[in-house]
């Protein structure tokens, strides 16, 4: 399994044709206390860059874009009861949705963990 990162502060775990998407620990830290996560319906298809989810913190609503094109095959139901999972475990249990990728070549432009760390340090 390989993990990729975007400059919109999302992480993507890729296993075969399935990509699991969440927001990074840096992102949750910036957003603060998360009180609601609006997830896409299973079966929704996204082009890279489409609005895919919305994270509501105490103060603000923030869009999460599809980092890659694909069809939603599963969403993280645990976030419905416990949106704060995104704060406590953003990069594992706080995942948002799983996509069946339609164009895995889109992964090529994404960052590795080391590159993302460097990117965050530059902000």
């Amino acid at each position: 399994m390989s993990r990729y990162f975007t400059d919109e502060h999302e992480w993507i775990d890729v296993e075969g044709e399935i990509a699991t998407v969440g927001i990074t620990d840096y992102a949750q830290e910036q957003l603060g206390d998360i009180v609601f996560v609006e997830l896409p319906a299973e079966g929704t298809t996204f082009d890279k860059g489409d609005d895919a989810a919305v994270v509501e913190s105490v103060k603000a609503a923030s869009d999460v874009y599809a980092p890659i094109s694909g069809e939603v095959i599963e969403t993280n139901g645990a976030l419905e009861d416990e949106p704060a999972l995104v704060n406590s475990d953003a990069e594992e249990d706080g995942w948002f949705f799983k996509l069946r990728m339609t164009d895995p070549s889109e992964l090529e432009g994404l960052m590795t963990e080391a590159a993302y760390k460097k990117f965050v340090a530059s902000l």
Binding site: I23, V35, E38, V58, K59, A60, S62, V64
Partner: protein
């Protein structure tokens, strides 16, 4: 991700200024944002934790961005009664009142606190006023236009303003300034701490007991340090200030109150005394009297929201296919444990209990007109 933060509105045209406690906030790990033209702390530990701390203990807020003004000179009461709908002539020394500036059409230019000084505070001025930070320069220009030459208005730009709020604010403040134990809600007075002159009122913007402390900017660091050295006190950012005031049902100028809305619709008629209603003689009186007689077109109301999805400022309020209002403030309410909102709805739909719908990202969520405050006020009133 793109965050659209409601209150961290950057005024991109002007460089942000630093307030007296700028370095103090940064040293305590505050995340700073642009607000009302200044760098201000939005949070330290997190909004939920800071909100909860203020409801249980005491939170220290830096509100030095607000405008602090004094008025003195011959005929000052009469002059201010032209500008404010409140009873100024009947305002006794060491008493504070909530009031507002109205335009000629009765629209709200700002809301503010006004108090009568005493004990020689602020160079023997007669009246002290605190106005909103984002509007202070417009307020000053408006008042200059309407004040006679004999009345002197002084903008105290070198004065810091702190607020200590929460059920333990009284005991914490009494450690540093014992005399404040005598103050009850909306009373104020001149005090001293280590030789520093303080003007302190028992009031605030959280619904909790507490104080607002005006002091020279060069003493603000030491006083804030002394307060935060007490076990009851932690610094609190603007984020929790907003969620606390929303739960307390208190309107935020520029959001819930604007020049487009009126005092009576805003449910702020309590600020206008019987004498002032009858006698008039203040700018905007016509609108007030008309709305007292005929009712306002729309009212400011509280809204409880079904489910967990917050409805935020700008969301439209519906009955069926008809838009009947807008959300003007909204978010997750930490003490309530659910989303709440404040909004303006047309009069026929403003009664407590009225079922409404709010559109959030194309979806309708259920809402109900609710009494405010959402969390009971905990003021220390005179027995």
């Amino acid at each position: 991700m793109t965050a659209t933060d409601n209150i961290a509105t950057l005024e991109e045209s002007l460089p942000l200024e630093a307030l007296p406690l700028d370095a103090w906030h940064r040293a305590r790990g505050a995340r700073m944002v642009g607000f009302a033209g200044y760098h201000m702390p939005i949070q330290y530990d997190g909004i939920m934790a800071e909100h909860g701390w203020t409801r249980e203990h005491a939170g220290l807020f830096d509100v030095s961005h607000m405008g602090q003004l004094t008025f003195s000179g011959e005929g000052v009461d009469e002059a201010l009664e032209l500008l404010l709908p409140s009873d100024i002539k009947g305002l006794k020394p060491f008493r504070q009142r909530y009031s507002m500036l109205l335009d000629r059409d009765g629209g709200i230019l700002d809301d503010l606190m006004v108090s009568r000084l005493g004990d020689g505070a602020f160079d023997d001025a007669a009246i002290y006023m605190v106005v909103n930070g984002a509007t202070k320069y417009d307020d000053i220009a408006w008042m200059i236009e309407h004040l006679p030459d004999a009345v002197i208005m002084n903008h105290m730009a070198d004065q810091a303003l702190l607020a200590l709020q929460g059920p333990e604010a009284g005991e914490a403040m009494a450690v540093l300034v014992p005399g404040t134990a005598e103050l009850t809600f909306m009373q104020c007075g001149a005090f001293e701490w280590n030789g520093v002159p303080l003007w302190i009122s028992r009031s605030g913007y959280t619904g909790e007991d507490g104080f607002e402390i005006s002091l020279p900017a060069d003493a603000a660091n030491a006083f804030a340090d002394a307060l935060c050295a007490l076990p009851q006190v932690k610094p609190i950012g603007l984020g929790a200030r907003d969620s606390l005031r929303l739960e307390a049902g208190l309107p935020l100028y520029g959001h819930d109150l604007t020049p487009a809305v009126s005092t009576i619709g805003a449910d702020l008629g309590f600020a206008i005394s019987k004498r002032r209603r009858e006698e008039g003689g203040f700018i905007g009186h016509g609108r007030v009297m008309k709305e007292l007689a005929d009712g306002p077109g729309a009212k400011r109301v509280g809204l409880t929201i079904e489910g967990r999805l917050p409805a935020r400022e700008g969301a439209q309020i519906y009955v069926g296919d008809v838009q009947v209002g807008d959300v003007t403030s909204g978010g997750f309410a930490p003490t309530v444990g659910a989303p709440i909102a404040m909004g303006w709805v047309s009069l026929p739909h403003s009664a407590i209990g009225t079922a409404l719908e709010i559109e959030v990202r194309g979806k309708r969520i259920g809402a109900k007109v609710a009494p405010m405050p959402f969390v009971p006020h905990n003021y220390r009133r005179k027995a």
